[in-house]
């Protein structure tokens, strides 16, 4: 026995000793972010040394990044959710109507989060109990909630400007100095989701359910419960992001959320979470989201038209994906243990 289990030579490489090697992918994503920042800084040094540029960026970035963070869990499960923009609007509508009826209290936020939880529950049940593929199920709920919102509002926006300055308003989207509070919420949510994913049993089950559902089931993990819980968490977080976006704009718009669909999904993908599931990181998504936001801010700051934004987004997504494939390939070649 002893002879046969001699350390394969690949294992003698310091691969697992260096933190840089272990987090290669995350470092690559961070490098892309820093490189882009340097490029924009070089083109427009005054714009990018002005703190208000970052205030502007961080006041809107959360609406893409927050739903992307919980979407990372969904994608790690090997599933998808197209309904979260509608759930963002649903949460925002529930808050708006509650505030208009009962005044601006935490009740509105509580009901908004509950609406998100219920919307997530519906997605989870459709996917697990009825075994409808998540792509199809969430197209259904995407239309369902958006339709519900349009019927209720008749397509009209609802102004919320009168609540500006109230403590609850400031607590959600106020400013601490020049720092938008919503970016602090984003960091808090990212930290909580990161801790759960890496250090909690639930996070481990999310990974296993996405990586090998049959194995997870065989080993006694209730994968349906995991999937439903993830969709519920994602629903509540999307609703929260919707509330923040609405309060930042001080108006509820029935079309709220639609622009975040592709951006949030792209944040997850750029961040190194493959759609095949089983792996992925919250850190990657956070930086992925920042990359997309930086491109928007940067392109406007360097003075070219906003039409360039999509083009550069596309380019960066493709570059990031190629980089990920290359990193994974080289890892595969390096690590394979052979007899």
């Amino acid at each position: 026995m002893g002879k046969r289990s001699v350390l394969p030579k690949q294992l003698k490489t310091p691969y697992f000793t260096g933190i840089t090697a272990k987090y290669k992918l995350q470092i690559a994503i961070l490098a892309i972010f820093l490189m882009l920042w340097l490029i924009f800084f070089a083109i427009n040094p005054s714009g990018f040394s002005n703190p208000y540029t970052y205030t502007a960026m961080f006041s809107v970035a959360p609406f893409t990044i927050i739903p992307a963070l919980s979407l990372t869990y969904v994608i790690i499960l090997g599933e998808i959710d197209l309904s979260f923009p509608s759930v963002m609007a649903l949460g925002a509508l529930v808050l708006t109507l509650t505030w208009k009826t009962f005044g601006p209290t935490p009740l509105g936020l509580l009901l908004a989060l509950s609406a998100g939880l219920l919307a997530g529950l519906l997605n989870g049940i459709l996917i697990t109990k009825f075994q409808i593929p998540s792509l199809i199920a969430t197209i259904g709920t995407m239309f369902l909630w958006r339709g519900f919102i349009l019927v209720v509002t008749q397509g009209y926006g609802i102004p919320l400007g009168e609540y500006r300055g109230l403590p609850i308003y400031e607590m959600l989207v106020g400013r601490i100095g020049i720092i938008p509070v919503q970016i602090i919420w984003t960091v808090i949510i990212a930290l909580v989701l990161w801790v759960i994913l890496n250090f909690h049993k639930f996070g481990a089950y999310v990974y296993y359910t996405g990586d090998n559902r049959i194995a997870a089931k065989m080993l006694g993990i209730n994968t349906d419960k995991v999937i439903i819980s993830v969709y519920m968490i994602h629903g509540a977080i999307a609703a929260f992001a919707g509330v923040l976006a609405t309060l930042e704009m001080a108006t509820f718009w029935p079309a709220l959320g639609e622009i975040y669909l592709m951006k949030s999904i792209a944040s997850v993908i750029v961040g190194g979470t493959p759609v095949t599931g089983g792996i992925g990181t919250i850190f990657g998504t956070f930086i992925g989201g920042l990359i997309l936001e930086l491109i928007e801010t940067g392109i406007l700051a360097v003075g070219v038209t906003g039409f360039w934004i999509r083009l550069v987004h596309g380019l960066v997504i493709i570059i990031a994906l190629i980089a990920q494939v290359l990193i994974r390939r080289s890892e595969m070649r390096r690590m394979r243990v052979v007899e």
């Binding site: 697992f16 049993k201 049959i214 194995a215 997870a216 993990i221």
Partner: protein
Amino acid sequence: MPEEKYIVETVNLVKRFGDVVALKGVNFKVRVNEIVGLVGDNGAGKSTLVKILAGVYAPTEGEIIIKGQRFKRLTPRKAYELGIVLVHQERTLSENHTIWRNIFMGRELTGPLGFLKISEMRERAQKLLKEIGLKAIPPDFPVKYLSGGYKQGVQITRALCFEADLVILDEPTIQLSLAEVQRVLEYVRELKKRGKSSIFISHNIYHVYPVADKFVILDRGRIVGEFLKKDLTPDDLSHIMISIARTGRVPPEYREINLISS
């Protein structure tokens, strides 16, 4: 050890999939610290039988007795709790994750509020890997980079870690190189040394023969033969299997040593 001490026993187990009857009243027994080689052609019902024992399928009729407790059906979790672990060809591994995570998969050691005791799990994994002869592999190594034999080793280490009493090895040597097959057979011997019972399913009787104490032959949903290793050579077993495949019966010259009276 008293002879009647069985770790698992099935009573008239029947399993139907629609019109197809996969098991037709199977009475299958495994003694404590026994390695049973479960052999038979494709479609004989081997996998169906072990999947019922592992709680993956519910039997249509019959009973399962585990350590004296009677069950109409099991769930994977229940089987797991009763100490039955299924080792599948790569199928019960989360390939993208580390060895230690795989060893504790589904039975993580947790502290307050469900947080993982990572360092404790890593240490225990390292100790167990060392015990089974995989000491050279760091527990932080992702399973996907391991070869087939090492992967089986990880699954068997998991069984040891959970103090499994019965380890079911479903085709553990399929697609493995010769050296790797030997490695897996070593793991199985190690399980026996530790007092565990195993069911070893294989198409290849030359893989199962060296480690098994007893051979049970399934044919089209029925147990047609049960032989002790001391009564047979591998060639005998091969001869019996071929004959069963052709005629559905154990050849007359082996009927005396067949523990199943036909």
